[in-house]
Symmetry: C2
Subunit: 390 residues, 2 copies
């Protein structure tokens, strides 16, 4: 049911012709009665933000955190297209507002796909009526919406959660360019909780920081990253802030992990956990340096427990530490401690590194803080995906 | 002639059995008369510095910047080996000092190869007499020394330079893990200039900063990076400081470019030049973000002029700028300006990106400072080289 699991939402996924071959490329999610929902969002930190990001940011501000619906398209990022890109993004919401008979400032838009190529705006505008006509509350509609935002994703990503009669639904897409501060990652979380825009926005920001901002695929931060949250209020219930936070954490965490699992060409999901740091920032800096290292990621791909490379990255994370105090554990097998390799059963380590998902623990013995980054391996298929735009 | 081009040096390259198959793996460079030369060095900034780095740093300090010779081995980095690694490094210089009949503190050592595996010290010690017996002043000896430090390099790297009767020679190795603040990169520069250790060290530091620290292959910084300089004084001539600097710049620049050209699996050498920045630091930060991006490097490999990815990296370099003012030029072909793609001849761009070496110019129109980083593409062969240790 994904985004239509909470009360008060309809969804559709349509093929408007941004992608070729009749593939789904336009997802629309709107409130059931076209009444404004409470809305919040987190956007990319990239200074070359795409036109849809700029427009959605502006609309959210002018509406005071309210929105009737979100249009999410795939196949073209509408980024690096200058004033034409801005005009195309506005035109798409104007067309949608005409169909829905709502103020265009109450609509949001996000796009993902190739950068620097003009949006085929005529086809998108012609397709808007179909997007609206296809809106439905069933699971097929919401699954089509999830599929319509995919680019190089191999499966649609959704997550649901329910607590005290309040429901949360979501869709997301990822694939590559997933890095700190989000990435070519689009996500929409719907809920029927009664909540203010301010509370929803703060909780969403914290959830994003703990989940989407702690995954990395290639260290690149996209021009288009967007996480939207819409709250219809139709459950009639207000959650404790801690419950709301937990619910958003659970949903975002599930989506974030799915994104790394399905990273372009990935054959491994590896959680790099740093413990014993002086601060959480230190722990995350070390974990990120290891998790983003091309050399380390090649060794994940090769199923090679090469702790020496991990130690080398730890030593260059910009965090003061004593490398002789560092210990490294693959899964449950300690391999390095006290400045040198220790005795261990190599078969056990091989079993860990040949798993589809595993964790590596790095203790730096400087304090009590910890932090983790989830990453994927660097593979031939990743290169194949990213060698060309066609 | 490489390291024996200047007066006063002998060299050898031997197979002592660190690598298998009888491949050359130990280079020795000493002064002709076993008299101390003036010495300087630049070492890795990695906190997990290898045992040879720690020992050479200590010896240079205690000798007050003098050295009789340098032992450089390949196949094993002697890093992450704890106290045993330190003892092995010391033992190798002790054996060498016995043969040369000099104080071991007047000897330097550097190693490159796998991390975390104990050095086969018995074989190295047994081979030391051969290293010494093979010393010679001819081009064959010095070429053997250049070959003996290679790991995944495909050719030996040397550079010579002469100015006003003063000569400079050099050897280097690179391949992967080449990043800011040096990398698994070893280099030795010899000269017959008359110079103090202080002047030589300062000039060497500046040269390294302008050359080796402005190349990148995978953003990883090794545990073992070392650049040594030895000055025999046998030309009897003192250079102007500007001449000395220029000579070191020329030699280091040549070696650095050779290292990127021969990067693991590389099919492209690309110079990323940022102009119009507010400061040189800003220019270098932007150039480095682009040059280290896996996505950008995949597009280099695919010979795909995907300027959108370059713009996206520029927007996330941590430098304040207006993305609508950025222009991007491949070779001599302007492709992006004023926030959008411009008209250009696509065949001309294809010709640029299919070249073995080319430059990309990024003007950010914020000031007058500039900076450049030289990088390689990310290829299937890079992954193959780094999937396993065997």
């Amino acid at each position: 049911m994904s985004v239509t699991f909470p009360k008060g939402f309809r969804a559709s996924g349509s093929a408007v012709g941004i992608k070729d071959g009749g593939r789904l490329d336009a997802a629309l999610i709107v409130t059931e009665d076209s009444e404004p929902a409470v809305a919040a969002a987190t956007f990319t930190t990239n200074l070359a933000a795409a036109s849809p990001v700029r427009l959605s940011r502006r609309n959210l501000e002018s509406s005071g955190g309210r929105a009737v619906g979100v249009l999410m398209t795939s196949g073209n990022a509408n980024a690096a297209n200058g004033k034409r890109g801005d005009a195309d993004a506005s035109a798409s919401l104007k067309a949608l507002s005409d169909e829905l008979k709502v103020d265009p400032q109450l609509l949001l838009v996000a796009s993902t796909g190739l950068i620097g190529i003009p949006m085929p705006i005529d086809r998108l505008l012609s397709g808007i009526p179909t997007c609206v006509a296809s809106l439905g509350g069933g699971s097929e509609s919401s699954y089509d919406a999830a599929k319509a935002i995919m680019t190089t994703d191999t499966y649609a990503k959704t997550a649901e959660f329910e607590i005290d009669g309040v429901r949360f639904g979501s869709v997301a897409k990822g694939a590559a360019m997933i890095a700190p501060n989000m990435a070519t990652m689009l996500a929409l979380i719907t809920t029927d909780a009664l909540v203010t825009s301010e509370v929803l926005g703060e909780a969403l920001g914290r959830a994003v920081d703990k989940t989407f901002n702690r995954i990395t695929i290639d260290g690149c931060t996209s021009t288009n990253d967007t996480v939207f949250a819409l709250a219809s209020g139709k459950s009639g219930k207000t959650l404790e802030i801690s419950q709301l936070q937990m619910a958003l954490d659970v949903v975002c965490s599930s989506l974030a992990r799915q994104i790394v699992f399905d990273a372009e060409g990935a054959t491994k999901l590896v959680e790099v956990v740093v413990t014993g740091a002086k601060s959480e920032d230190d722990a995350l800096a070390i974990a990120r340096k290891v998790a983003e290292s091309s050399l380390v990621k090649c060794s994940f791909y090769g199923e090679d427990p090469y702790f020496g490379r991990i130690l080398s990255e730890v030593g260059t994370a910009g965090v003061d530490l004593d490398s002789d105090k560092v210990s490294i554990t693959y899964g449950t097998v300690l391999v390095f401690e006290g400045g040198h390799e220790v005795e261990y059963n190599r078969d056990e380590v091989v079993e860990v590194v040949s798993s589809r998902e595993y964790s590596i623990y790095i203790d730096v013995d400087e304090g009590v803080a910890e932090g983790a980054i989830i990453t994927a391996d660097l593979t031939h298929a990743y290169i194949d995906e990213n060698m060309g735009t066609s």
